[in-house]
Every structure is written in C-alpha cells, then in structure tokens.
C-alpha cells in the first residue's frame, strides 16, 4: 500500500484545507507501507515505512487505499533497521470535505453572517456607558408667544 505525504499550512479546523506535496520543490512524496501484515486502525493508524528525512516536512498522510482518507501526522518515530513509524490520526474534515460541503446544515455562529437579529450573549457590549441623543419632531402646535392666545367662552350672544 502506498501512502502520500502532504503538507498544509491551514488551521486544523479548516474543512477545505489546501494540501501541497511534501517533497522538495513540491514533488510528490510517497512511501510503501511495510506493516500491512499487522492490524491497522482506521482512525489512528501507524504506518511503518522506510526512513526518509523528507517525511519530517509533512503534516498529513493521504491513504488512497484506505478509502481516500487523510490523516494528521501526530508523531514520527525513528526505528532501527532504517525505518520510521508514522503515527497518525484521521483528519475527518479533509477526508469528507467534498461530501460535507453539500450537506444541509444549520449554523448558530458564523463569521460571514454578520450581526443578525439573534442576540449574541458573547458580544462584549459596553455596559458602563450609554450613548444618549435627542431628536425633536419637526413641528409643534405650541408656542410661548402665541398671537391669538385667549379663548373666551361667553353666554350665547344675541346677534
């Protein structure tokens, strides 16, 4: 079984990680797995390969024969006999990137949503200060200098 060594600069939480070949100059870097006769854990496999210092540049392993799964490289142990032990754990987000993108989902926090009508208890509104402003209506029926201010009510006139 061949595994391919890749590297990525992305945050581990990125779903659609960008992967580069880990070989020098961007060349593909693969290795043949030597421990196929032993059991390999699908989620946390350990691959024994022939020693190659270029592997130390990689962050990920791609195993096409394990149903196209991507793995983080957690540790590389140097073994005797010119071998290396690649200790991995599955990168589920990268492995199922394509499938996940088309899945229906409900987001409850999102960078791209912006401020919405949903109250955000994490947002640090300033509780010490308030901003007070006034706005007068444009018109009023009242004045302090009325021209005809007196209303006189009298007995009905005999006109």
């Amino acid at each position: 079984m061949l595994i391919t060594f890749l590297k990525s600069n992305d945050d581990p939480r990125v779903v659609n990680k960008t992967m580069f070949n880990a070989g020098s100059g961007g060349a593909a870097l693969t290795a043949s797995v030597h421990n196929l006769s032993e059991s390999i854990n699908l989620l946390s496999p350990v691959f024994v390969v022939a020693s190659n210092t270029e592997y130390l540049n990689a962050t990920h392993v791609y195993a096409a024969e394990l149903c196209n799964r991507y793995y983080y490289i957690n540790n590389i142990a140097l073994m005797t006999g010119g071998k290396m032990e690649i200790q991995c754990s599955i990168d589920l987000l990268k492995t199922y990137e394509t499938q996940l993108m088309s899945c229906p989902a409900t987001a409850i926090r999102s960078q791209s949503a912006g401020k919405t009508h949903i109250s955000d208890s994490k947002y640090p509104l300033n509780t010490a200060n308030r901003y007070v402003t006034l706005q007068n209506f444009p018109y009023t029926p009242f004045t302090r200098r009325p021209s005809f201010p007196y209303i006189l009510t009298t007995i009905g006139g005999s006109s």
Binding site: A113, P124, F142, T153, I155, G157
Partner: protein, 742 residues
C-alpha cells in the same frame, strides 16, 4: 394523479410534449351538452389538473356558461381553491343551438367537455386539455400590450415582458393588456432551444378586450379575434399559445355565434378601478394601467399561480436555462396548490416541478378538501379626525393679547350705558342675562398654541352688549396638528435592524402629556408620527403616537392626554379653583408609561430566576431570540453581564403638571434615544471576533454557503462514512470549523 380514462383515453394516446402532433393524434374530446344536464360552475373532470391554485388568481375555476348568463361575477372570492387546466383549442367549430353543426349567427350554448364521442367530421379538429406533459419542456413568455398615452387611436404595441422592461416601459407606459404564450423546448440536449408553440398550430392571436370591438363585445372579459370569425378565442386557456391574464372590466357579456371554451377570468389584475385610467368613448371603453414595479409584481404573481416556468425578465431567451436568473417558476406549496409565490434562478431547482418527469408526477388531488385559507385581507387602518357636529350653546372667541386687555375694562363702560332712571339690575339682567355682568364670561383660557384657529372676524358680544373688541368667533372647537415623523434608525445594522438596536431605549416626550416609552422591537426602522388633538373648549389635548405598518397603514399605538390651556381667573371663585387645582388636577395627573418588557420576558417561561439574578442579557436574548432549541442550548450557557437598570432611562414625572409649567418645558415632541455602546476598538477587534468566535445566527443552508469560522448545530450527513466518523464529525462541526472561500 389518476386521470379519468373514460374521457381522456388511455395513457398511450396522450401527448407528452406540448402540441407535438397534437393536431392529428386525437379526436375532439368534447361536445355540446345541454346546460340543464350539467350544473354550471363545475368541471366535468378534475383529473387533468396538475396543480390547484389558492388565492386571488384570475385564471382559475374552469366552468361552463349558460348563454343566458348576461352578467357574471366580477371576480371570485379570494381564497377558494381553483382547479384549473390548460386547454388547447384550435377548433373551427361552433355548435348550433340545437346541437347540430351550424355556422354563424346562431345562439350558441356554452359547452363543456364530457365524452369523447364526437361526430366523425370533427376528426381534424379537436379541443382537449393538456395534461401529462413534460413541464420542464414548456414555459410561458409574457407579453404586454402597451401604448404611449391614453388615446383611443394611439398606436398599440406588443412586446415580450423582458424586452418591454428593458427598452419600452418609459416610452409606452400605458398597459392595455397582458398575455402569455407558450414556448416549448425542442432540444434533446441539456441546452434548451425554445420555440414558439404557435409553430405547431394555426396562427391565431388572442388579444385584449380593449381592442376596437363592436358593441356587443365591448368591455367584455372574453374576446374574439376579429380577424376571422371562424376562430375562437379563450381567456385563461391557451388559444393555442396565449393565456390571458388581464381582462378588463367585470362581467362577461353574452357571446353570440361563437363557440368557445371559457376559463372564467374575473376582471383584471387588480379589481380596484381607481388603479386604472379609463378612456370613455361612447363607442369604446378602455381601461389602461400605468406601468409600475407594483404592476410587474402583480404580473409575476398571476403567472406564478399557473405553476409553470415563465420568463420574467431579460431579452435573450432562445436558449434560456430553467435555472437562469431570468427564469421564474410558480411555487407549488406543501398543500400542492400555488399561492402566487415564485422562485427564480437556481432556486427553481428546489421546486417540486424540478423533480417531475411529467405532470403525472404531481401529487395534487382536486378531490381533497380545500386547505384552510386566511380570509383576512389585513388592510385595515387607524385614523383620527374632528368631530364636526359638536356645537356648544355658547360663543367662543379667539382674542389677541392686546385686545384682551381692553375687554374687561369694557364692562365698566357698560355700566355707563344704563339709561337714566332705569334700575341697574334690570338693565344688567336684560343685557347680560345675569345680575353680575362678569358672569356672562363663562371661561377664559390662555392657549400657548401657534395653530391658526380660524373663525370669522367679529366683535365680542357679552349677552346683548357689543364690546366692540375685535376677535374671531370660532365655529370649530377642536383642532388637530401633525407634528411630523421621525425615523427610528437602526444605527448598528447599516440600515437593517439587528439585536443591538433592539436594546435601544426609546422615550417619547410629549409636551403637556407626559412621556411614553416606545418598544424598540416595534418601532425600530419605522417612522414614528405624533399628532395632537386639542379641544379648544376645555384645553384637553391628546397626543396620538403612531407608525406606518408594513402594508402602508397607520397604526396608533399610544395615546397620551393632558391639558394645555391655562385658566385665567376672572372671578374670585375661579381663582380659588385654580389655586386648589380642583379642575386641573383631575386632568393632568401623569405617569411615565413603561413598556412592560419584564412581563414579556416572563411569558417565555423559566426566566424569573435569570431576571432575579440580575442577568437580564439572558432574558433579553430569549425575548428577542427567534428561537430554536439548538440556539437556546448553546447561548443559554454563556451569558454576558448586562445591567437591566441601564436599559431604562430614569425619566419620571411625579405629581401634576399644570399647563403653565408645562408650557415652560420643552414644546416640541422629542424622542430620547439611549443606545448601547460598542466595545472600545482599541481593545476589541471586530474582525478577530468574527473569525474566532463568529456572530450569533440561525441560518439553514448547505455547509458550502458559509465562509470563515462557523459553528453548526446539526449537519445532515447523507454520505458514506462509519458511524463513529460521523459522530466525530458532528462534534468537530459543533465546536467550530473554518471554511475557506473558494
């Protein structure tokens, strides 16, 4: 959807594409029946219906008519479910009164379709409904009939709707008719090749009732081509390629000598006649509507009722895709009926029709009970006005400042007029109707108003005594005054309301009436209006606080009352009354009206503890939060400190407010906004917050629709992976992932 094969034949004989070989493939499917046998207003067979229409659609409810039906209801009751079907008609037939094949000028019975046993001579002609066709292979292309002005003889034009919008709306703004014709996709590839369905059948045109018909067809909601009297025309159904959307004027006139199939088409897109320009000539009546965005939306709505694809905009449609931005589609709702809603562009792919092979895939059952329909029009409004029949049996004068000073002195002059030798009391009584002349003045008030109270110029009369003091005698003792509008602008959302705006406290100060607190959820992004109604007799004033609803109606939400008149003491008794405020006190006790936000929160349940803990942000988030349990579960656990005291301004009015002191306070209605303050930009980066914490939301879409940091509540994972992997993925997505822009 089952089809009555006794009427329509077996599936092998049905058309699958609009009009393909239609002319030769079937016999005529209907014949004249006596209306006494078949009840009016009923379909013979609903089974060809692939969608019901629920609502105010003008092409619906196929029925047959009695020739003696001189008038017809203007439009159906909105809300009734309509089963409708497309009818293809190229008949050159008409039936005589007695059922024989006859020519012109015979009174025709309205006909319907009932059984397939047509006379042999009808073989080359047919009328049949269209059903079981590939709905993704046909679309409607709307046209407008238009002209430059309202003149009867003004040249008339007809353009596809998209072309009209793009190039002709300004030049020909008056619409006399709207129709739609069918196009069908003749391509076998994924790229459509839209052809005019008319190519397959005779060249007939249908057009608006506004064209120059003779008297009997004038103002008719149905129409005749006029080009050749052997042609028959339909509204609502396809006269080969047109469906008419916009008839004019109500009623169906008696139709003589033509054999037609009628789809009942109530008048117009808008039954409100004030929306039409009416050109009244003694021989010619025309209704026109001025082009507007509202009319365009009405056209879209009417087309959407059909459940068909239709080309709503754009000028290049020869190969327009069904998910093109200019392609619209009537939405079939969960009740399998259309309600006039539509989608466009890629949203069409989410429709029921998109999944159909042909219309037999429809789930619509015409025999199902009518879905419930909201009969309310929600077009009410609230208003205010004067009482015009209110006339007190006293005289009311409006006097200026300088003339009022002279008034009382005139009473002294009155005493000098007593004829020599006459008892004073008799004179006074006769002149003033009272032994004390001052009592002829019933009240005197000072109004600090700038309103012109109107009235007619005269002199003040006290009883029979003319003081010769110039004044204006008022007829109306009430006045109202519009103080204008203020927009409660959502300052934190770039013109759109968000949750921070809803934490704004809004106090509306009303001169003489106190203050009211306005609910930010109700008033945000709305215009607040204040109108004063002032009673000149008593000095009472009321301030009506209102806003404009979403459908343009006035909504009065608060009424605050007070007294703006200052009583001027005329006698000793009145002065005592003023001092003790026996009168004013009862009219002027005021309190701040607090919008009871607390009770609103408590109604949501379980929030008493949260409020008592002084953590009102929790309560606020629930009050404003348009909730899903997922949202609650996440946000309820982490609550920011927020002092409820800070949400209310300490404005109070204690005790009574006399009009005098009220006049010394602010005289303009004023809104006081108390808004939260955003975090200090030196300590808080909005961008960093967005990319590391994200903004609270509740948005449902696909994962790819989101960009950047995102926390998901639940993702539906319809792909192959182990159960453990899926569980781990859900956990990762809930904790938060980052989606890079592509």
């Amino acid at each position: 959807m089952a089809v009555n094969e006794n009427i329509w034949g077996t599936p092998e004989t049905w058309d699958n594409v609009l009009h393909e070989n239609a002319k030769t493939s079937h016999q005529t499917m209907w014949q004249k029946v006596l209306t006494s046998v078949l009840p009016l207003n009923q379909l013979v067979d609903n089974s060809p219906c692939f969608v019901g229409a629920l609502g105010n659609w003008y092409i619906a409810n196929p029925i047959c008519f009695d020739e003696n039906e001189a008038t017809f209801p203007l439009y159906d009751v909105p809300g009734n479910k309509h089963d409708w079907l497309v009818i293809y008609n190229s008949t050159r037939y008409w039936y005589g009164y007695d059922g024989s094949l006859s020519g012109y000028n015979t009174n025709t019975k309205w006909s319907t379709w009932q059984s397939p046993d047509m006379p042999d001579t009808s073989a080359e002609y047919f009328n049949r409904t269209l059903f079981n066709f590939k709905i993704k292979k046909v679309c409607l292309l709307p046209y407008v009939h238009c002209q430059a002005d309202t003149g009867q003889t003004t040249e008339k034009h007809m353009y596809p709707l998209g072309e009209y919008i793009a190039s002709h709306a300004e030049q020909y703004p008056y619409i006399t008719g709207v129709c739609a014709r069918f196009l069908y996709d003749s391509s076998d590839t994924d790229t459509p090749d839209w052809k005019d369905a008319a190519e397959h059948i005779d060249d007939q045109l249908s057009f608006s009732a506004n064209y120059n018909f003779s008297e009997e067809f004038k103002n008719s909601g149905i129409f005749n081509t006029g080009f050749d009297s052997s042609y028959s025309v339909m509204i609502g159904a396809t006269n080969k390629n047109y469906i008419y959307l916009m008839g004019f004027k109500g009623g169906v006139r008696k139709y003589i000598s033509r054999n037609i199939m009628i789809i009942y088409c109530p008048v117009g897109l808008d039954p409100d006649p004030t929306h039409y320009v009416y050109n009244d000539d003694k021989d010619y009546v025309m209704y026109l509507r001025r082009w507007s965005d509202e009319l365009k939306e009405e056209i879209y709505t009417q087309l959407a009722f059909s459940g068909f694809f239709f080309i709503g905009e754009g000028t290049n449609y020869s190969s327009i895709a069904l998910n093109d931005q200019n392609m619209f589609l009537g939405t079939i709702e969960s009740d399998n009926c259309t309600h006039g809603n539509y989608t466009r562009g890629e949203d069409n792919e989410n429709s029921k029709q998109w999944q159909w092979e042909d219309t037999s895939d429809s789930e619509y059952d015409p025999d199902e009970p009518e879905p419930p329909f909201d009969p309310n029009a929600y077009d009410g409004s609230m208003g205010s006005g004067l009482l015009y029949s209110f006339s007190p049996p006293t005289d009311i004068y409006n006097i200026s400042d300088d003339r009022f000073i002279n008034l009382v002195s005139k009473l002294w002059d009155a005493m000098a007029l007593v004829p020599a030798g006459d008892p004073l009391n008799d004179y006074v009584l006769d002149t003033f109707l009272t032994t004390n002349p001052i009592d002829s003045i019933l009240s005197c008030k000072y109004f600090p108003v700038s309103i012109d109270l109107g009235g007619s110029s005269t002199t003040v009369k006290l009883g029979k005594y003319d003081t010769e003091i110039q004044a204006r005698k008022l007829l109306l003792n009430m006045q109202n005054f519009d103080c204008g509008n203020i927009l409660v602008f959502p300052t934190f959302g770039n013109g759109n309301t968000n949750w921070i705006d809803k934490l704004t406290t809004i106090i509306l100060y009303l001169p003489f009436c106190g203050s009211v607190q306005l609910d930010p959820e109700l008033y945000m992004n709305r215009y607040v209006n204040v109108e004063y109604a002032i009673d000149i007799l008593t000095g009472n004033c009321s301030a009506y606080v209102s806003f404009t609803s979403d459908n343009g109606k006035r909504v009065i939400t608060d009424i605050a009352s007070g007294n703006c008149a200052i009583d001027m003491p005329i006698t000793g008794i009145q002065h005592i009354t003023l001092d003790s405020q026996l009168y004013n006190a009862t009219e002027q006790i005021k309190a701040v009206k607090i919008n009871n936000a607390i009770s609103g929160l408590q109604q949501l349940g379980g929030l008493g503890a949260a409020i008592a803990s002084g953590n009102p942000m929790y309560g606020a988030s629930n009050a404003f939060g348009f909730l899903g349990s997922a949202y609650n579960a996440v946000h309820g656990e982490e609550v920011a400190e927020y002092n409820l005291q800070h949400t209310q301004l300490p404005i109070k009015m204690i005790g009574t407010t006399g009009a005098t002191t009220g006049a010394m306070c602010e005289l303009y209605p004023t809104i006081i906004f108390e808004r939260p303050v955003l975090p200090d930009s030196k300590k808080f980066s909005e961008a960093a917050y967005a990319s590391t914490v994200g903004y609270a939301c509740c948005i449902s879409s696909t994962v790819s629709a989101f960009k950047g940091y995102t926390e998901f509540a639940n993702v539906e994972m319809n792909f192959e992976a182990t159960a453990q992997e899926k569980a781990m993925l859900q956990g990762l997505l809930k904790q938060g992932v980052i989606i890079k822009p592509t």
